[in-house]
Every structure is written in structure tokens, then in C-alpha cells.
């Protein structure tokens, strides 16, 4: 994306007064909208919007052979598609580094937080386990796709119903049980991305803000069983480097935003 210098200067001039183009404060998120069950052939699906940025997420399950290092564990694959539909900046073709990175951050966030209990996804030890596919599609990019996609992932996983497994024919039927995926509610870590522009740390960036920032840092956090904040994944991106004071400020923001958003996001994910 080509950013005129004048726009960049204006964004910084606004931030110096603690303002943003859409009248938000530096630590304020856009309005979050969630829809579940947007695709009836998926085991679980959701669309999530932060302002105008929108991501579709869908979960599909199939039966597969387990990996040798986990004969009783289900498998997990997560992909993020940055469709050229979502922005004039994206082109057709094999996934570029941006979509690979986002897919991997979300993949690790879910895998390492133990949000999915893979040990409960065994069909027959050493032979058949459930393979969980989580596919994310950017539909409209107006900034902060990663946080939106990561949240859509949580909602779609929580929305999923296990399909019926036909043991006799050893195949998955196109019908669903009432049972959801084995999820660990305590491990519902959600992603928060911070960008540094000028001397300011902002949350939920717009597309223009993303473009001119020095660096970004994405942290996924949840509360553990003792109600203590736990960080489950971090990715620092772009060339800029973080000072100790900035890191301190960011971690304080993480605690603050976690407290503010956790109840809200829990409601979207679990429906209560």
C-alpha cells in the first residue's frame, strides 16, 4: 500500500493530541460484531467484525491417521487466506508471507494454549484420530486482521459440533452429534496486537496506522485457573525494536485490556 506522507504526518499529529481518525482513544477497540453458524456444511463457523474488518472462520473435521509422536492425539491444521477480495493490496496466488505468518501465529496460539484437548480426539489408538481443520478467510481488510481472525477462530471452534463417526464403515458421516469439540475454557487465549507509531502505543490499528508503525507486537493472553493473567503466545513484527519502557507499557496494557475484553469475548465465544 502506498501511503502519502501527508497522511502519515496527520496520523502522528492526531496521536500527539491523543486522537485517532475515527475518534477512538489510543487503547480503544472498534465495535465487535459476531455471527455464528454462517456456513451450514462446516462443523463450526463464525464471522467476526472489528469495525469494517471482517474474517470468516470455518472448522471441518475428518478422520485421519495420527502422527507417530502422538498416537492418541487429534491433529490440527490452521490456515489463513488473504483473499484479494478483502483488499486491493492482496493478489491471487500461493499464500504470501503475511498470510503464512498470521496462520502460524493463530495455529500456535491455539495449539500451545491447549485450548483444544487433543487427547480427547482419539478414535482408535494408533490408527484413527480426528483431524481438525480451521480455515480463516479475510473478507474485508480495514486493519488488524490478525486479532479479528484469531477471535473468529475461537468462536468457530466453540461453535463446532462433532460429526457422527461410522465405526462399521470407518468413515465420517455428514451428520452432527450434539457434542462440541473438547475445549478447555480456561485456555481461551485471545490475541491483542499493539503498534508503535511515533511515541505512542495503539491497539486495534486501522489499515493506515498499520502501514506507518515502527513495529507491532501481538500477544495472546488468558486467565489461568487461579484467575491470573497468562500470556500464551507472542510475535513481534516489523523492523522497529522495543525499549524496556515500551515493553513495560505494553505489558500493562495487556493486563488492562485482558480485564476489559475477557468477559466480552467469553460471551461471544461461549454465548454467555
Amino acid at each position: 500500500m502506498i501511503m502519502p506522507k501527508i497522511l502519515q504526518d496527520r496520523i502522528i499529529a492526531y496521536l500527539k493530541q491523543g486522537k485517532r481518525f475515527d475518534a477512538r482513544k489510543t487503547d480503544e477497540y472498534r465495535q465487535i460484531e459476531v455471527k455464528t453458524g454462517i456456513s451450514n456444511n462446516a462443523e463450526g463457523s463464525a464471522s467476526v467484525k472489528f469495525g469494517k474488518t471482517e474474517v470468516y472462520a470455518g472448522v471441518k473435521l475428518s478422520a485421519a491417521e495420527p502422527y507417530s509422536d502422538g498416537p492418541e492425539d487429534g491433529t490440527f491444521t490452521c490456515s489463513m487466506e488473504l483473499s484479494p477480495m478483502a483488499s486491493a493490496d492482496y493478489e491471487l496466488g500461493p499464500p504470501g508471507i503475511e498470510s503464512v505468518e498470521m496462520g502460524r501465529i493463530i495455529d500456535r496460539g491455539i495449539r500451545e494454549s491447549k485450548f483444544i484437548d487433543f487427547s480427547k480426539l482419539c478414535i482408535k489408538s494408533g490408527e484413527k484420530v480426528w483431524a481438525v481443520y480451521l480455515d480463516l478467510y479475510a473478507v474485508n481488510n480495514d486493519g488488524n486482521l490478525l486479532d479479528v481472525a484469531a477471535m473468529a477462530a475461537l468462536v468457530a471452534l466453540a461453535n463446532a459440533k462433532m460429526p457422527v463417526y461410522n465405526e462399521k464403515e470407518e468413515k465420517v458421516e455428514h451428520e452432527h452429534t450434539n457434542e462440541g469439540l473438547p475445549l478447555n475454557k480456561n485456555a481461551m487465549a485471545f490475541n491483542m496486537t499493539f503498534h508503535k507509531i511515533d511515541d505512542h502505543i495503539i491497539v486495534d490499528p486501522s489499515k493506515e496506522e498499520e502501514e506507518i508503525s515502527d513495529y507491532r507486537i501481538s500477544l495472546a493472553a488468558c486467565y489461568d485457573e487461579n484467575e491470573k493473567p497468562r500470556i500464551t503466545s507472542i510475535q513481534k513484527g516489523k523492523e522497529g525494536a522495543i525499549t524496556a519502557e515500551e515493553m513495560e507499557k505494553i505489558l500493562n496494557l495487556v493486563e488492562l485490556k485482558l480485564k476489559e475484553l475477557h468477559p466480552k469475548i467469553s460471551k461471544f465465544v461461549w454465548g454467555k
Binding site: S45, V59, K60, M85, A88, D142
Partner: protein
């Protein structure tokens, strides 16, 4: 018609010439220059239009007029068995036949060396995704303000055993009794009433095909009315 058809009642109770319930909307993708959603029963298509914009690489440019480029794709979870993300032979063919059809609608003579990109995606599939994609794409092109000579609407006509029906759903597509299912996606131009897309998969007699095309034409006229209403903001 020779002999009786085993298909006397549609699986979802519709009349033979009845379309599934339609929902249509424009402006669903604000980043695009034009966009639309078209829903027919359980099939949903979204289309986004970008352009006219400069076409790269340069050797693909046409100095006489702008180029129309269509990309059709399904979301991996839109179908019962997960489809691997990314293009495949089927999606490439559908993109091309859609491109041929829609090239009859747009007039890009004022935009040499540019491209108008149309991206069609299917979040939920219940048969008839290419025709739903066309219906969404036509609205998205109009919404983008791309000059158009006329509009187009598309529908999948089907023959279940010996019965001809319009707007085939997945359950009908899998009909196996008698002569089985024949799938005939058609796209009619709104003004000239010409056929801009025609494919057929199955087995059909000449007279039956004539009847199928006539039913398809009438169905497309109904769809076009909804497209126009949606664009004028007269629905809901």
C-alpha cells in the same frame, strides 16, 4: 414426453418452476469498489469488484479496451467434505466460463490497459454456486459503477428423471432414479435475451432441452428483477 417421470415431487416441496428463497445485498465488502451477496436457498455467493485499475504485467494489457478478469473460489468449509484452499481445475473452469458470460455485460472500451477484477467466493454451498456467483457478480459490477450494456442473471435448470425443474439444490443434483439428474447452468442477458453461459452435464432430448432453456429464461427474468430492486435499494 415419453413415459412417466419418477420425479413427481421436489425434495423441498417447491413447484417445478419455483426458485429457492432469494436474499440479495450490495456493499458487503466496503474495501472493494463494488460488492454484493446473493443467496439462493442454502447457497451463498459473495462478489467483490476492483477496478478499472492498471493491469500488470504490462504484456497482458489491451490497448483497445479494459480486460475483465474473474476469479471464482469456494471456501474450504463450504462443502460437506473439506475442499483444500486455493484454486483447482474446477474453480479455474468456472472462473473462465463466468468471465465469458460477464464480458457480454460490461463495456470497457473507455478503459484501455486496465483490468476489472471480480472475485467470487462461496461461503456456503448447496448446488448452483456458479450461477449464484454470476448473480452476485453482476450486482457487484453495477454497484461498482462499471459501464454495462446490459445485465445478466443465471440459474441452474435440472432434469430429474424426465422432469424439468429450475434452481436445482444439492439433494436434487444427486437424484439417481430413472434417467437420473441432468444439470444445465444457464445465464441469460437481461435485454437481448441471449445465452451468455450454457453448460450441460447428463442426458437430455432436444425438445426437453428447449423446454429447459425456456424455463431457465423465465427464471432468469425473475432473478434480474430482484437484482435491479436490490441495486435500487427497493428491497427490505
Amino acid at each position: 414426453m415419453a413415459g412417466k417421470s419418477s420425479y413427481t415431487k421436489r425434495t423441498d416441496g417447491r413447484k417445478f418452476d419455483e426458485l429457492r428463497p432469494i436474499d440479495a445485498k450490495i456493499g458487503v465488502i466496503p474495501e472493494a469498489d463494488g460488492s454484493a451477496m446473493y443467496k439462493s436457498g442454502n447457497t451463498i455467493a459473495i462478489a467483490a469488484v476492483f477496478g478499472p485499475r492498471t493491469l500488470h504485467p504490462q504484456h497482458m494489457q489491451n490497448p483497445q479496451k479494459g480486460v475483465l478478469r474473474i476469479n471464482y473460489d469456494m471456501m474450504s468449509f463450504s462443502v460437506p467434505d473439506r475442499k483444500k484452499p486455493g484454486p483447482n481445475r474446477r474453480s479455474q473452469e468456472i472462473s473462465k466460463v463466468t468471465e465469458w458470460a460477464l464480458s457480454q455485460c460490461v463495456d470497457l472500451s473507455e478503459f484501455p490497459n486496465t483490468v476489472v477484477d471480480v472475485f467470487i467466493t462461496i461461503p456456503q454451498a448447496d448446488a448452483g454456486t456458479r450461477v449464484a456467483g454470476i448473480n452476485a457478480a453482476v450486482m457487484a459490477l453495477a454497484h461498482a459503477g462499471v459501464p454495462m450494456k446490459e445485465m445478466a442473471a443465471a440459474v441452474a435448470v435440472g432434469k430429474m428423471d424426465k422432469t424439468i425443474v429450475v434452481d436445482v439444490c444439492k439433494e436434487e443434483e444427486d437424484y439417481e432414479e430413472g434417467e437420473g439428474a441432468t444439470d444445465i447452468p444457464v445465464c441469460y442477458l437481461s435485454r437481448s435475451k441471449k445465452l451468455a453461459l450454457l453448460q450441460l452435464d447428463g442426458k437430455i432430448g432436444v425438445d426437453e432441452l428447449k423446454e429447459a432453456l425456456e424455463m431457465g429464461k423465465i427464471a432468469c427474468e425473475k432473478i434480474n428483477e430482484i437484482q435491479v430492486k436490490t441495486l435500487k435499494g427497493e428491497t427490505k
